[in-house]
Amino acid sequence: MQVQLTINGEKHEADVEPRLLLVHLIRDVLRLTGTHIGCDTTHCGACTVLLEGRAVKSCTLFAVQASGKQLMTVEGLEQDGKLHPLQEGFMAEHGLQCGYCTPGMLMTSVAFLEKHPKPSEDDIRRAISGNLCRCTGYVNIVKAVQHAAAALQGGA
């Protein structure tokens, strides 16, 4: 089947099997390998991307379901050489270690902060509870999101 979609502002077309998972289109066909795969059961969130601004787990959608839509992956966060405040926050607060869950954490947090610009710590913990991290113990991820929230509030 033919799919057409826009990823990080760029138009892509591909001829895919109807059963092709969106994450495999992104990674294997379009070679945007920042989006990762960590489980088979929609639990880990390493594959999280934005579909029309909503955080979705791209291992649980077919590529054809994204046809005609706008996607953003981790590769799209940096704009004109300027990092997204969340990317800055994760570096500043040591919010990552092995880096494998990081793209998914970032994309979940981007969508979350857009709807909840002034979150409490509990709000953040609930928001990222669909994304598993085995390295950080989440403390510094929470701080990274708070760091970004403050920067976004400050008009950064």
Partner: protein, 788 residues
């Protein structure tokens, strides 16, 4: 400790931002599955539905009819090359693919090679395997009963399921101490099977180039050099020699011990690439990862502790059944089949101890690897910390006071333990006191009494652990004969920048940053000017890899030693440039100056340039050094953790209200990274304490084989960790450092378990095995008369 270098140089003690992060936060890391080569084929594995069965027939016809499927590989195919079995790191044997029978559910049965990921999976789904079920043995105690089915029928003359017996310590003296003891306590403690569940699973791309006969394997491995040697030893007879094998361990999405072993999938991918001459990718999915990759723990422990009438501990006696699954594929140093379990006297001054461990075969996957822990140290720490708590409660002495009374004292270091270890340094009372002060321990006990009077279940648990890491001194430590040194090679370029390569491999620990900081500390070259590389066996010096918190104790020491060799040569060059004797020079980080004439000086960068442009006559050009560091002793990080839990009498749920962790890992290289390691370690301590277990039903069916029922904690269940540290340097490590990556995983479960038992002690509860699930607690409460 105040840093000796400026923030600009970024040596030890600076919380330098990580060099790794710019690529990771942009999604520009390169993990194994990100590597895609032209013409690459894909491998998918058919796995056993039975825990123990004869293979009657494997019918590949339907799979071969799937478009894109090129081959179905079976044990019979590998047997032609004698590659159907492989040795384990513990000198046992493991099937790559079976010829006669399967030994656990999810074991590899056949592999499908295809032109795409999906075609390979389609093929694997329709390989038809006919099994003839055999009696299943899942309980190691039953495995040892007379008449139990003998599982390893491949081993000639094997008449039972007993693998090995190992014991350590003075049995007679220990037995005597128990006879003479005023008080003894005894408990059965089970540490269940768990899985490291790194978020990246395992996999590889094997690429055999038929023209130059070279095999390159991109692989999720924590020990690339050892893997290269193992491949050469195992597959030399089919033409793979060590100079024609290159292992590349790229960015690794978490290791924790699970990426030390050689899994059959790697070997099948290599065989498929050698046969086809094409790159072959194998990436396991999460269920394969949890169900077939190496497990951790599965220790059935019976422990006894003795004390005199004054509450002074005297002796420890432990017997353990170690369930290894169908083969001993643990990853311990060769001399120690139970790892370093005999550090089980912990932080306490015991005069006698004796430990016995028996390895047992069952119909479960192999493993016995660590779960973010030095070899079997969590098993040791959990046992002693539970037993000490039990004794304190039994004697009605506050567990903190009881620990203080029985700790090894600072003046006793270096301390020779009853089981023969020489602890390098420690101040156990200092760490516990700091933890007590931080959490306001006395206030908490008052609050607990008040709550208990109201019928509320609040518990306070302590764990004062001692770790043993940094394997290890070559006299006692080897893996398959390879001594457990590690290495650093440093080259300083003419313009004063440097590259350093190591025999270890970071999996998130931040080596690129911390190693650069060690070199910055020793050479005064800014950390940002030092490129750190690991993981490519064609370029990095030989080393045994990263696990058991050995990177800082061993490779970090190698970095310091190599840097000091570089500095010694730079001193000669500086003397030559300044026309003074070497002895007339004073070193401060980054600069040699003349004694009494500080304006006359040469920077390390000046010396580097001269090493290539104006070196003294008779000296070789260049500025580089290598160190293969053989540690004189292990290091013994320690800490004290205090945990406060509230137990819901209605549901049995345990909530960790507070958790204070005071760690001592000696001198600290990067405080930010050390704190991050402790946060992560604590969470991997919480996980098995409350949530994670892989169990099996009587038929050997795996329970907990996916993230649906293997419960990795999320941000919601994870408490807000409170961390701090004391600093007691290691006297033998060149930097006084000890290693920290695993301390918290080792120490945390006992603090949580002790807190839960503390909350329930007055009801008559004496012990609860981890994971402490709501169901388990609910049942205990009902058994002890609490109706909620």
């Amino acid at each position: 400790m105040e840093p000796r270098t400026t923030a600009d140089v970024g040596g030890m003690g600076h919380s330098l931002k990580r060099k790794e992060d710019p690529r990771f936060i942009r999604g520009r890391g390169t993990y194994v599955d990100d590597v895609q080569l032209p013409g690459m084929l894909y491998l998918d594995i058919v796995r056993s539905t039975h825990a123990h069965a004869k293979i009657v027939k494997i019918d590949s016809a339907k799979a071969l009819a799937v478009p894109g499927v090129l081959a179905v590989i079976t044990g019979a195919d590998l047997a032609k090359y004698n590659l159907h079995w492989m040795p384990t790191l513990m000198s046992d044997t493991q099937m790559v693919l079976p010829v006669e029978k399967v030994m656990y559910q999810a074991q590899e049965v056949a592999a499908v090679l295809a032109t795409s990921r999906y075609a390979a999976a389609d093929g694997a789904a329709v390989v038809e395997v006919e099994y003839d079920p055999l009696p299943v043995v899942v309980d190691p105690r039953k495995a040892l009963e007379p008449g139990a089915p003998v599982l390893r029928t491949d081993k000639k003359d094997k008449k039972d399921n007993h693998i090995w017996h190992w014991e350590w310590g003075e049995k007679a003296a220990t037995d005597r101490a128990f006879t003479e003891a005023a008080v003894t306590v005894k408990e059965n403690i089970y540490l269940p099977r768990i899985h490291v569940a790194s978020i990246e699973t395992c996999g590889c791309i094997a690429h055999f180039d038929k023209i130059d006969g070279k095999l390159t394997v991109w692989m999720t491995t924590q020990a690339p050099h050892a893997i290269r040697t193992v491949f050469a030893l195992v597959a030399g007879h089919v033409g793979l020699t060590e100079h024609k094998i290159r292992i590349i361990s790229p960015d690794i999405g978490g290791g924790f011990g699970g990426k030390v072993p050689v899994y059959p999938g790697y070997v099948i991918a290599v065989a498929a690439s050698v046969l086809t001459g094409k790159p072959v990718k194998w990436i396991e999915d999460r269920m394969e990862n949890l169900q077939a990759d190496s497990f951790a723990r599965d220790y059935h422990i019976t422990a006894e502790l003795a004390a005199n009438k004054d509450g002074k501990l005297t002796a420890l006696r432990i017997k353990t059944l170690a369930d290894h699954g169908y083969t001993d594929a643990a990853a311990n140093p060769s001399k120690f089949p139970a790892g370093l379990f005999h550090v089980c006297t912990g932080s306490y001054d015991l005069k006698a101890a004796h430990v016995e461990v028996d390895g047992v075969y069952t119909n479960k996957p192999p493993g016995g690897i660590a779960y973010r822990c030095s070899f079997r140290v969590t098993e040791a720490v959990h046992t002693i910390e539970r037993m000490v708590d039990l004794m304190a409660h039994q004697l009605d002495i506050d567990p903190a006071e009881f620990r203080m009374k029985n700790f090894v004292k600072p003046e006793q270091f270096p301390y020779k333990s009853a089981l023969g270890w020489e602890y390098d340094s420690g101040n156990y009372a200092g760490a516990l006191q700091k933890a007590m002060d931080t959490i306001s321990y006395a206030e908490l006990r008052k609050e607990q009494a008040a709550r208990r009077a109201r019928g509320e279940l609040m518990g306070i648990g302590i764990s004062s652990f001692t770790e043993i890491v940094g394997a290890g001194p070559s006299k006692h430590f080897d893996i398959l004969g390879l001594k457990m040194f590690d290495s650093c090679e440093i080259r300083v370029h003419p313009t004063g920048k440097a590259i350093a390569r190591f025999g270890t491999k970071s999996q998130g620990q931040g080596h690129e940053t911390t190693y650069a900081q060690i070199l910055a500390e020793e050479l005064g070259i800014p950390a940002r000017d030092i490129q750190v590389e690991e993981g490519d066996t064609d370029t990095a010096p030989y080393g045994l890899g990263t696990y058991a918190s050995r990177s800082t104790p061993v490779a970090g020491a190698a970095a310091a030693v190599a840097a000091r060799k570089v500095r010694d040569k730079a001193r000669k060059i500086a003397a030559h440039l300044l026309e003074v004797a070497e002895d007339d020079l004073v070193w401060e980080p980054g600069k040699f100056s003349v004694k009494g004439a500080p304006s006359q000086s040469k920077t390390i960068q000046d010396c580097a340039f001269a090493a290539y442009t104006n070196h003294p006559q008779g000296m070789e050009a260049g500025l580089e050094a290598v160190s293969y560091y053989d540690p004189p002793n292990l290091t013994y990080p320690f800490g004290s953790y205090i945990c406060v839990v509230d137990v819901d009498a209605g549901t049995g749920e345990v909530k960790v209200r507070r958790f204070v962790a005071i760690d001592d890992c000696g001198n600290i290289i990067n405080p930010m990274i050390v704190q991050g390691q402790v946060h992560g370690g604590l969470t991997m301590g919480l996980a098995p304490a409350l949530f994670e277990e892989i169990s099996y039903d009587e038929h050997g069916n795996v329970q907990g084989g996916s993230f649906i029922d293997y419960l990795v904690p999320t941000a919601v269940e994870t408490p807000k960790w409170e961390t701090g540290h004391t600093i007691t340097p290691s006297p033998h490590h060149p930097l006084g450092a000890k290693g920290v990556g695993e301390s918290a995983t080792v120490g945390a479960p006992a603090a949580i378990a002790n807190a839960v038992v503390d909350a329930l002690w007055h009801l008559g509860v004496r012990h609860v095995d981890i994971p402490i699930t709501p169901a388990k607690v609910w049942k205990l409460l009902r058994e002890h008369g609490v109706r909620g």
